[in-house]
């Protein structure tokens, strides 16, 4: 009898073992960071933890550069990237759960720069710094603006302060987290960005549905909004 129970138990546990998702994160302080013990820290990993807990799905988190993470997800049918900007050109190539992060992006200038902008058109001819993979740079390049990428926002801040570029495309949360004094000044809000978990297109649709339903519920309860507030992220 006991043997049969153990067999049943192990059979029942199979779907959950098979359901484990490989989650590849890439660092974007302060919203996604790798702590000293290799775990995820920041708004997005916290949200992800709660989301997967509610959905009853286990996952393994590891950190990789974005491009490698995107390649991994194409190769591994249970792989997902945390996070990817969801936009039309990418839509068919992943299965999506989101949005996990909604960012208001703006163009920032040095505090003592008297530059004024009314529209993106007026940024033509000015060099703009952007974090590789954030989506902002692609967008600005797409409308014909001059974008310079780096892999660290701290480097972008440093380049802005040394006048290597006149503008920096980023969010208030990043500016605040880097704590520069005086802080760069937003001269033009220009884009609202939605970022999702992007999974292998053949990932089990039932898992995706459970995650999406759980996320919806977290929004309805105000759980996500409260987390945003805790981390100083605003949709103002």
């Amino acid at each position: 009898m006991r043997g049969i129970s153990l067999l049943l138990l192990s059979l029942l546990s199979l779907p959950s073992a098979a359901a484990e998702i490989e989650l590849f994160a890439w660092e974007r302080p302060p919203l996604v960071q790798q702590s000293l013990d290799g775990q995820g820290a920041g708004l997005v990993p916290e949200l992800t933890r709660e989301l997967f807990r509610r959905a009853g799905i286990s996952y393994q988190l590891s950190f990789l550069p974005l491009q490698r993470a995107l390649v991994k997800v194409q190769q591994e049918s249970n792989g997902c990237v945390l996070l990817v900007e969801r936009r039309q050109e990418r839509e068919p190539y992943y299965a999506w759960v989101g949005p996990l992060l909604i960012s208001r992006l703006g163009l920032y200038a040095k505090a003592d720069d008297d530059l004024q902008l009314d529209s993106l058109e007026q940024a033509r001819g000015l060099r703009i710094l952007s974090h590789q993979g954030s989506g902002a740079g692609d967008y600005l390049q797409g409308v014909g603006l001059d974008v310079l990428y780096s892999n660290k926002e701290s480097l972008n801040l440093s380049m802005l302060q040394r006048s290597r570029a006149r503008l920096w495309a980023t969010s208030a949360a990043v500016v605040h987290a880097l704590g520069a004094k005086p802080a760069p000044r937003e001269v033009l809000p220009f884009l609202t960005l939605m970022e999702d978990i992007a999974c292998h297109p053949q990932l089990d649709p039932a898992l995706l549905q459970r995650l999406q339903t759980s996320l919806q519920q977290m929004y309805h309860e105000g759980w996500v909004q409260a987390l945003y507030q805790q981390h100083g992220v605003s949709l103002e």
Partner: protein, 559 residues
């Protein structure tokens, strides 16, 4: 944060030393209004905006020249005039739909207004989340509604008025799907003679798909090269992208003749193949009385796939809507069966291969040819408006400020200038203006189309689709296998029809509306095919002889 933004705006106002009213009048020329009327209308906006000074509104629209003009010129102008700061984002059309859906599903305040296609009207009036503009204008929006709004002047108003008789959206830009061709090539005597000898009729505007196919084959296979350049007789797109769905759902099935007779859309079966009983969607598959997997639909998709592969430039098979939009403007395409007029600005740029030395187009637009199942009384083409869409959950003050901006960019003071820049007309008064009539020869027939009564026979998706944002993705996901060769057109359409029925069932459980879906029981195609109307039984001959008309005669469809 908002006070900082206001300081920035104030500083910006000071640096633009000119009086904002004067500045607006200088930019907004020509106008369909007399100078005094324009000044009075703009002064009304300045006064109406005063109580909202310092408010910031976020709006979003798709990436076409009209919206780029709004974002870069009109939004700053409005801000200086009223003190309301507008962040006017530009994004892909699919992104606009996704963001609207996200705001509806999460309740997050992403935007205060969207410019979204009227194709979503069937969803808006059933879901109850979109602001009913006619109620708003009579109620909380009365004090911020321009006395010169003149709704009757909007040519696309029927597209944004739901079956309940209420107005849900305000037209911002309007575009149609027309036949496009190189008139200069069609006039070449040697090409006309060669075509006549081979096909036995004249190289003119095709009236049916047989003639379109003959002309496509003629240029791609027989002519091959003009003035040393490889040329093609057809242009389309087939990349695995959300826009593939619009390609098929906007035009192919409607012009093949899938639907029933009736305007603005076939009744009881529309050109998405959805049958309605009363106003309730009752099924898309033939099994439930729909026509999405009917012989006419299979014929439509089969022609689409065959022509894309045989007659279009090879790279078109991988392209999306935006990538394909201005390809024919590069000067190596003879005709395009379905061409979006939203791209007119790209096709009238001086110095491009499709514009002559005097700045006049070498191309013309005409009514698209009809497929074998098309019958008189069906819609004659696809047309839609991108329209201002506000949500009930947006706080009143934000809603009022956004409504002021929506009215401004569509106001008579503004719309003629905007039309001349973006070529997406919305107002009858602009179409009747001397300025637009003077531009007509430069626009290849666009103005003639909009001034004709045809506008009523070129219609959008219509109100039968109860969840456009949820169902639109089914088109491209289910039909792309027919392009890649993994499935036949019939198999792919069967899968799509089944997916539609399942989705309608889910929506039926969600929507609390007398017009929510209620599926017919499955009775089988053999029950429905012999019944009158759609789904139409298979024709014995789907390829009648080709027929063409001279350009001026072809335009009589617009009379």
């Amino acid at each position: 944060m908002r006070s900082v933004m206001w300081l920035v705006l104030l500083f910006s106002t000071l640096t633009h030393a000119a009086n904002p009213l004067q500045e607006a009048i200088a930019e907004l020329q020509p106008s369909s209004l007399a100078a005094a009327e324009q000044r009075a209308e703009l002064a009304w906006f300045a006064a109406a905006g005063k109580p909202f000074a310092g408010v910031q509104v976020r709006v979003i629209a798709e990436h076409i020249p009209t919206h780029w003009y709004e974002a870069t010129v009109l939004a700053p102008l409005f801000s200086r005039l009223t003190g309301i700061r507008v962040i006017h984002e530009i994004s892909g059309e699919d992104d606009v739909v996704n963001k609207l859906r996200t705001q509806q599903q999460t309740g997050l305040p992403l935007y205060d207004a969207y410019v979204s296609d009227s194709d979503l009207l069937g969803q808006h009036f059933r879901d109850g989340q979109v602001l009913v503009l006619s109620d708003f204008i009579a109620g909380a929006g009365a004090s911020v509604t321009s006395p010169t709004l003149d709704l009757a002047d909007f040519i696309g108003l029927p597209f944004v008025t739901a079956p309940d008789g209420k107005l849900y959206q305000l037209p911002d830009q309007q575009f149609a799907n027309l036949y496009w061709y190189r008139q200069d090539w069609f006039e070449r005597p040697e090409l006309r003679q060669a075509f006549r000898e081979r096909y036995g009729y004249e190289l003119d505007v095709p009236q049916n798909w047989s003639a379109y196919e003959d002309i496509a084959a003629f240029f791609t296979e027989q002519v091959g090269e003009i003035d040393g350049q490889r040329v093609y007789g057809h242009m389309d797109y087939g990349g695995y992208d959300p826009s593939l769905g619009w390609r098929l759902s906007d035009a192919w099935l409607g012009m093949a003749g899938v639907a029933d007779l009736g305007l603005p859309n076939g009744l009881p079966v529309d050109d998405w193949g959805i049958r309605v009983e009363g106003c309730r969607p009752a099924g898309a598959s033939m099994a439930r009385g729909g026509a999405l997997d009917s012989p006419a639909a299979v014929y439509a998709v089969q022609q689409y796939v065959d022509w894309l592969k045989r007659y279009a430039p090879p790279e078109a098979q991988q392209m999306s809507f935006n990538q394909a939009g201005n390809i024919a403007a590069q000067g190596h395409v003879a005709q395009q069966i379905f061409w979006y007029t939203a791209f007119t600005a790209d096709y009238t740029k001086p110095g491009t291969p499709v514009v002559d030395g005097e700045g006049k187009p070498k191309w013309r637009v005409a009514p698209s040819p009809r497929g074998a199942y098309w019958q008189d009384g069906m819609k004659s083409g696809y047309q839609d408006v991108g329209a201002w869409t506000l949500l009930n959950t947006t706080p009143l003050r934000q809603r009022q400020a956004a409504w002021l901006y929506a009215q401004f960019v569509t106001a008579k003071s503004v719309s003629l200038r905007k039309t001349l820049v973006g070529l997406t007309p919305i107002r009858r008064s602009d179409l009747d203006s001397p300025a637009l009539l003077a531009e007509a020869p430069r626009l290849g027939g666009l103005v003639e189309f909009y001034r004709s009564r045809a506008a009523r026979r070129w219609t959008p998706t219509g109100a039968n689709v109860p969840d456009y944002s949820g169902m639109a993705s089914l088109w491209w996901r289910q039909l792309h296998p027919a392009i890649s060769g993994k499935l036949s057109a019939a198999q792919a359409l069967h899968n799509l029809a089944v997916a539609f029925d399942q989705h309608l069932q889910v929506v039926a459980q969600r929507q609390q509306n007398p017009c929510a879906p209620q599926l017919n029981p499955p009775r089988g195609a053999q029950y429905w095919l012999p019944q009158p109307g759609a789904p139409w039984p298979q024709l014995a001959d789907e390829r009648p002889p080709g027929r063409t008309l001279k350009y001026q005669e072809a335009l009589r469809a617009w009379d």
